[in-house]
C-alpha cells in the first residue's frame, strides 16, 4: 500500500516551511510598503516571491516533492505550459489596445 509516512520527513521540516512562508509574506508586505522598486520591478519581485511560496506549498505541504517523477513533471509542465501560452498571446493584445487608445 502506498504510504506517504514512509519518507524520512520529520514534522520539524513542516514548521520550518511554515516559518519560511510567513517570513516571505512579511517580506512581501514590507516591499509593498516601502515601495523600493518602481511598479513593474515590484510586480516582478512579488511574483518571484509568490512562485517561491507556491513551490514550497506544492513541494512540501502538498507532497509533490515526494511523488513519482512522471507525476511531478506531467502535472507541472501541463499547467505551467498553459499559463506560458496564455501569457505570450494575451498580453500583446492587452498592450496593443492601450496603444490603439481603445478604452
Amino acid at each position: 500500500m502506498h504510504d506517504v509516512a514512509k519518507h524520512d520527513d520529520s514534522k520539524a521540516q513542516y514548521f520550518w516551511v511554515w516559518g519560511a512562508l510567513l517570513v516571505l509574506t512579511a517580506v512581501e508586505v514590507v516591499l509593498g510598503y516601502k515601495q523600493i522598486f518602481e511598479p513593474v520591478r515590484m510586480l516582478e519581485a512579488l511574483l518571484v516571491l509568490s512562485v517561491i511560496k507556491s513551490a514550497l506549498i506544492i513541494g512540501y505541504f502538498m507532497h509533490l516533492k515526494f511523488e513519482t517523477a512522471i507525476m511531478r513533471w506531467l502535472l507541472v509542465t501541463a499547467v505551467v505550459g498553459c499559463f506560458i501560452i496564455m501569457y505570450f498571446f494575451f498580453f500583446p493584445d492587452a498592450g496593443r489596445i492601450l496603444n490603439l487608445g481603445v478604452h
Partner: protein, 576 residues
C-alpha cells in the same frame, strides 16, 4: 470537490438504483448516449427550421409559425450550442468512452463511480437548463455558440439576451463542471486501472483518444468556466470585464473599460481544444474499426499515438486562428497561422496511416466499416480547407462567409457524427446484445454520406462567392438572390438527410428489441470488450481480471490458428 473513490461491491437491486441513479459505468454510458440522441434530434430540428427560413422566410410553419429574423439567430445559437456541447462532446466521450474505456483496459468500473454518476446528472441538468432558454421571456439567446461579448453581455441587446442568455451561460457553466469531473475520472481510470499486461502502448487507440480528449477537457473546461462566471457578472452585477463603453439604441450603457477581446481569448482558449474534444474520439474509433474490418494491424500504431498527442498539444496553441478578424495583434496572428498549419502534419500522418491500414487488406464492408471510411473521407475533405483558413489574409476574406460554415460542419460536425455512427454500429451488439440491421444500416450510410456532402460542399462555393454567415434572409438582398438556387438545393438535401436519420432511429430501436442475438465477438475483433459476454456482466469480466499478452490490433498474424489474436490469448501463440 472530489468524492471518495471506491466501488459498489454488489450489483444494485431495484429499478432506480439499477437504471436511473446507477453507478455502473455501462448504464451511465448508455444514459449519456440517449441524452446525446435526444439532443441531436433537437439540434437537427433547429437546423431544419433554419434551412426552411433561409429559402422561405415568410412561410408560416405548423407549430412554430413564421420565423422572425431574430428567431433565426436564436435557432442558430441553440443549434450550435446543443450540437457542440450536448452531442459532439457528450456522445463520443461520455457515452462510448464511459461504456468502453474501463472494459477495454480490463477494469471493473471507472475509478470514481459516484463522481461518474454525478457527472452524468450534472450534464443532464445542464441540458434541461439550456432547453428552458426556449421558453422564457424573450426566448433563446442570439449570440451564437461562441457568445461573443458585448452582445452576450448586455441584456438590452436583443430579445433573446434577457433571461435566455443567463440560462445559456448557466448551462454552459454546469456543463463545464460536469465535463471536467468526467475528464479527471477518465484520466485516473486510464492511469491507474489497466489490467496486467495492458501497458500504455498496448491500449487500443480508442482508449488513447479518450485519454487525450480527457486531458484536453481537463485543461480547457476550467478556463471556460471562469470566462462564463465573468460573463455572468457582467450581465447581472454590472461589471465591465468584456464590455467597453457602449451605446444600445441611443442609450449609453453603464459599462466602461472592458475588452470584448478578452472574452474571445478566454473562449477560444477553451474553444479550439473543444474542436479536438469532439473529433479525437472519432479518430480513435475509426482506427479501431479500420483495423478490425481490414483484418490488418493498424498501420503505425506508435505514429498514431504520437500524432494524437501532438494534435492535442498543438490544439492549445492555435486558438487565435478563430480571431484573425478581431483586431488581434498581427504578430500573434502570424504565430497562430504557423502553429495552425503545423496541425496539418499529424493530421496527414493519421490519414495516411488509415489509408495504409486499408491498403491490401481483406476489407469487410460492414456498416461500421463504411462509416469509418466515411469519417476518413469527411476528415480529408473538411480538413483540406483548414490550411486555407489558417492564412490570416485568406481568412479575412472567408471568415464570415459560408466557407467557414462548410469547413467546420464537414470536419467537426459531420465527421465527428460519422465517428459516433461508426461506434454505434460497431458496439451496438456489445451494448444491447443484438445485431443492427445491415441493409438498413447501409442505406442509412449512403443517404447520409451523399446528403451531408450535398449540404455542406456547396457552402464552400457560396462562401467564396461572398455569401455571409448568420444572415437570415438572402431573399431581400439583390446580389445574394443569384445564389438562392444553391441554398434551395441545400435545403432539399437537408430534408433527405434528416429523413435518412429516421432510418437510423428505427433501426436502433427495432434492433434493440427484435434484432438477431449477437455472439460475444461478432466482428472477430481483438480488444478486451469482445472477450467478455454480451452484454457484459456488472463487473465486466465476471469476477476475473483479464491478463493481456498482445497489442490491440493483431490481425492476419502469420502462423496463428485464426486470422486474429485476442489481446488475452496466451503469449505462446505468436512470436511477440
Amino acid at each position: 470537490m472530489a468524492t471518495p473513490a471506491s466501488v459498489h461491491a454488489h450489483a444494485p437491486q431495484g429499478f432506480i438504483r439499477k437504471y436511473i441513479f446507477s453507478l455502473d459505468h455501462k448504464v451511465i454510458g448508455i444514459q449519456y448516449f440517449f441524452l446525446a440522441l435526444t439532443a441531436v434530434f433537437v439540434g437537427m430540428f433547429l437546423s431544419l427550421l433554419m434551412r426552411i427560413h433561409l429559402i422561405w422566410p415568410t412561410a408560416s410553419l405548423p407549430l412554430v409559425g413564421t420565423i422572425q429574423p431574430e428567431t433565426y439567430l436564436s435557432l442558430l445559437t441553440m443549434h450550435g450550442t446543443i450540437m457542440v456541447f450536448f452531442v459532439l462532446t457528450t456522445a463520443p466521450q461520455g457515452g462510448f468512452g464511459n461504456y468502453f474505456l474501463p472494459i477495454q483496459i480490463g477494469a471493473p468500473d471507472m475509478a470514481f463511480p459516484v463522481l461518474n454518476m454525478l457527472s452524468f446528472w450534472t450534464t443532464f441538468v445542464g441540458f434541461v437548463v439550456i432547453i428552458c432558454a426556449f421558453f422564457v421571456t424573450g426566448g433563446a439567446p442570439l449570440h451564437g455558440w461562441t457568445g461573443y461579448a458585448p452582445l452576450s453581455a448586455l441584456p438590452s441587446a436583443g430579445p433573446g439576451e434577457q433571461l435566455g442568455a443567463d440560462l445559456w451561460i448557466t448551462s454552459i457553466a454546469i456543463f463545464c463542471i460536469a465535463s471536467l469531473l468526467g475528464a479527471l475520472n477518465f484520466l485516473t481510470t486510464t492511469l491507474d486501472m489497466r489490467a496486467k499486461g495492458m501497458t500504455m502502448m498496448r491500449m487500443p487507440l480508442t482508449c488513447w483518444s479518450w485519454f487525450i480528449t480527457a486531458i484536453l477537457g481537463l485543461l480547457a473546461f476550467g478556463v471556460l468556466l471562469s470566462a462564463g462566471i465573468l460573463l455572468l457578472m457582467d450581465r447581472n452585477l454590472g461589471t465591465s470585464f468584456y464590455v467597453p463603453l457602449v451605446v444600445v439604441n441611443g442609450q449609453v450603457m453603464g459599462h466602461k473599460g472592458g475588452s470584448p477581446l478578452l472574452w474571445q481569448h478566454l473562449f477560444w482558449f477553451f474553444g479550439h481544444p473543444e474542436v479536438y474534444i469532439a473529433i479525437l474520439p472519432g479518430m480513435g474509433v475509426t482506427s479501431q474499426i479500420l483495423s478490425t474490418f481490414s483484418r490488418k494491424p493498424i498501420f503505425g500504431y506508435r505514429a498514431m499515438v504520437y500524432a494524437m498527442l501532438s494534435i492535442g498539444f498543438f490544439g492549445f496553441m492555435v486558438w487565435g486562428h478563430h480571431m484573425f478578424m478581431s483586431g488581434m495583434s498581427p504578430y500573434s496572428a502570424f504565430a497562430f497561422s504557423i502553429l495552425t498549419m503545423c496541425i496539418g502534419v499529424p493530421s496527414a500522418i493519421k490519414t495516411f496511416n488509415w489509408l495504409g491500414t486499408m491498403y491490401k487488406g481483406r476489407i469487410r464492408f460492414s456498416t461500421p466499416m463504411l462509416y469509418a471510411i466515411g469519417f476518413v473521407s469527411l476528415f480529408v475533405s473538411g480538413g483540406l480547407s483548414g490550411p486555407f483558413l489558417a492564412q490570416p489574409v485568406l481568412d479575412i476574406q472567408l471568415h464570415d462567409t459560408y466557407f467557414v460554415v462548410g469547413h467546420f460542419h464537414l470536419i467537426m460536425g459531420v465527421a465527428a457524427i460519422f465517428g459516433i455512427f461508426a461506434a454505434t454500429y460497431y458496439w451496438f451488439p456489445k451494448m444491447f446484445g443484438r445485431m443492427m440491421n445491415e441493409t438498413w444500416g447501409k442505406l442509412h450510410f449512403f443517404l447520409t454520406l451523399a446528403g451531408t456532402y450535398a449540404i455542406f460542399m456547396p457552402m464552400h462555393y457560396l462562401g467564396m462567392a461572398g455569401q455571409t454567415r448568420r444572415y437570415s434572409q438572402f431573399t431581400e438582398v439583390a446580389y445574394q438572390t443569384k445564389l438562392l438556387p444553391l441554398q434551395t438545393f441545400m435545403t432539399y438535401a437537408a430534408f433527405i438527410t434528416i429523413a435518412a436519420q429516421l432510418i437510423f432511429v428505427i433501426n436502433l430501436f427495432w434492433s434493440m428489441f427484435k434484432g438477431p442475438k449477437a455472439s460475444d465477438n461478432p466482428w472477430e475483433s481483438t480488444t478486451l470488450e469482445w472477450t467478455t459476454s454480451t452484454p457484459p456482466p456488472h463487473d465486466n469480466f465476471g469476477g476475473v481480471t483479464p491478463v493481456v499478452h498482445h497489442g490491440p490490433y493483431e490481425y492476419g498474424v502469420p502462423g496463428a490458428a485464426k486470422d486474429y489474436v485476442m489481446q488475452t490469448d496466451p503469449a505462446t501463440s505468436t512470436a511477440h
